[in-house]
């Protein structure tokens, strides 16, 4: 069926692109190696420099892929659930909670892996708080309640973070906290990246199984229920999954914005609106953007440019361009 083929071709092309970018990222870096040596190292042989380079580049590449895909999935899901193209993973207050968790762990003098764990817990806690608070609000539009609760919880977390910034030692802790907030793909160890990969994959599996039900939920709760779906439960499941994915990725990379907002929009232009195609395409495009940005971060000298800054610099104008092109196509 040519229609099915039309749907698959862009996805396949995106998969190729992501693979190509990932391989490219594995081959670029300050240690002097050649692609041949790296290939040998991947097979277990090869000289020690190539093996070292591979072992050091792999976590960063994996982190970029997981973070990009995770944020894009969460963003696409929230845009469907809120029926709002401006929705992004930050809406539920998860990112702020993760940042606050990391800050408090830093001030407590915990090891870096504990900071990631505290960030994850902080994100989960604030996401749970938002969902619980919104569920307690019975009347009115549930989307509005959710947005307001997300804003409130996010603001509370930001206030906690602000206190932490004040209390941090300006010569030691404050720079570290600032770097964490601005985002980096090079921070996570392979183990941490693999854990995040597991969590994000689980989230992806849930969301992809929900599939067309997300489309139904996007029509509104009444419509979804009239179509025979347990709309409240499914909505909660989708939101919780999005919060989980966001928390998992923010905890290993810090705050990286714009990918969650941008990737679904670009994906929409390429494969249309149905969740079954939109979610995987968003994830692939998100991973691709993250890989590119990760490389850019290291391209200007040995000092890394925080990826959160780069995504903002690249993302904001790109989003504007997408929006204009999309607006131009519609009557």
């Amino acid at each position: 069926m040519s229609r099915a083929l039309k749907a698959v071709v862009p996805l396949f092309a995106a998969l190729l692109a992501v693979t190509g970018l990932a391989l490219g990222a594995l081959m670029l870096g300050p240690l002097p190696t050649s692609p041949a040596a790296l290939l040998a190292a991947a097979a277990g042989a090869g000289d020690s420099t190539a093996q070292l380079a591979l072992s050091l580049r792999l976590p960063a590449v994996l982190t970029a892929v997981v973070v990009g895909a995770g944020l894009a999935l969460a963003g696409a899901t929230l845009q469907a659930l809120f029926r709002n193209p401006l929705a992004s993973p930050d809406l539920l207050g998860v990112s702020s909670g993760a940042a606050a968790g990391a800050a408090l762990a830093l001030l407590a003098g915990l090891a870096p892996w504990a900071m990631q764990g505290a960030a994850f817990l902080g994100g989960i806690a604030s996401g749970t708080l938002t969902l619980a608070a919104a569920a307690a609000v019975r009347s009115g539009d549930p989307r509005l309640a959710l947005i307001l609760c997300g804003v409130v919880v996010g603001a509370l977390a930001a206030a906690l973070l602000g206190l932490a910034l004040l209390a941090a030692d300006p010569y030691t802790e404050l720079p570290t906290l600032t770097w964490w907030l601005l985002g980096a793909f090079s921070r996570a160890t392979l183990a941490e990246a693999v854990v995040a990969l597991g969590l994000t994959s689980a989230a992806a599996a849930v969301l992809l199984t929900l599939g067309a039900r997300l489309d139904a939920l996007a029509l509104g709760e009444d419509q979804a229920r009239a179509l025979g779906l347990p709309a409240r439960t499914l909505r909660l499941l989708a939101l919780a999954t999005a919060a989980l994915a966001t928390s998992a990725v923010v905890s290993i990379s810090g705050l990286v914005g714009w990918i969650g907002l941008l990737a679904p929009h670009a994906a929409r232009l390429l494969v249309g609106e149905t969740a079954a195609r939109l979610l995987p395409m968003s994830a692939l495009l998100g991973a691709a953007v993250a890989l590119i940005v990760g490389q850019l971060a290291r391209a200007f000298g040995p000092a890394e440019i925080p990826v959160g800054l780069l995504t903002a610099l690249v993302g904001a104008p790109a989003f504007l361009a997408l929006f204009i092109s999309r607006a131009g196509r519609r009557p």
Binding site: G29, P30, L31, P32, S48, T49, L52, A53, L56, R57, A60, S88, D90, S95, S96, L106, G109, L110, A111, P112, M115, G154, A155, A158, A159, L161, G162, L163, L165, L166, A167, D169, P170, Y171, T172, L174, P175, T176, W179, L181, L182, A184, S186, R187, L255, G257, R298, G301, P302, A303, E304, P306
Partner: protein, 324 residues
Amino acid sequence: MPSRRALLATALALGPAALAGCQRAPAPVRAGGVLAAGQPAALLIFTLAPERLIGWPRRPVAEALALLSPLADRPEVGALASGGRPIDLEAAAALAPTLALDYGDVDADSQGLARRTRAALNLPYQLIDGRLALSPAAFREAGRRLGVELLGEARAADAEQLLAALPRTGGPSFYLARSGDGLETAFPGALAVEALEAGGWSNVAVGGAGLGRVTAEQLAAWDPEVIVTQDAVFAAAAADQPLWCRRRSGARRRIIVLASRPFGWIDGPPSVNRLIGLAWLGSRDPLGPPDPALAANVAGLHERLYHRRPTPEEMLGLLPRVLA
């Protein structure tokens, strides 16, 4: 999404509120109280005229206070200059200082702050260059302003002796590891590595300025001979990670863990505390296990800078650990 600017705005907005809430009642105003614009200035004042220090921009933690003389028990008042909890001009005026001192970069920002404070509070404001090589002049200037010229002269002589004893060249290539994962570093010329570079050690981190984050691979590419750190959390983790304790050739790499209490030996803050680091750099074998001569030297400096001689047990904790 809460942008960085929003976070900073929140932090700055909460500053005075938090200060008002947490500040203890200021100590009775002594004749001639001196306001430190930042932590480096506070240390300078504490060394020369501790009884005149109104308060710390950032109160040292209990662990640090235990190593300082009881004169260090001053309240936290916040900093006029950037870095740390801010204090606004009105709160500063309420502390009734007779002199304000800033010790650090002499640039447009700090000069502007000096002008504004002088004008607003009608307060003598002394800005002293914080470069390590100018420490003797700094002591003399501060001694003059604080009315303790003899003491200032004595400390200046100490500083001159320590600077002269530094080997200008021939030190190892080093990488300064900051933050818990060690991937934050300082590039050549930054305050954090001024002491090490003055001691003739060469910073492998080229191509940047100030503080920055690098990747693990970048560190491996630079392949320094020595890792220096003041971060105990990092040191504990790095001891068994091959990335840190082994060079590319496979040989063992030394990780030198310097004390950060009561104040760091080479940084944290970039002030007179760094003289202790200079004593270490000028010692017979800074890369080797610490020797009694260094211990004696450090104990003496401690007493002269912080007005308290560490006990032998405390000295053991203060001397550098070399993980090799």
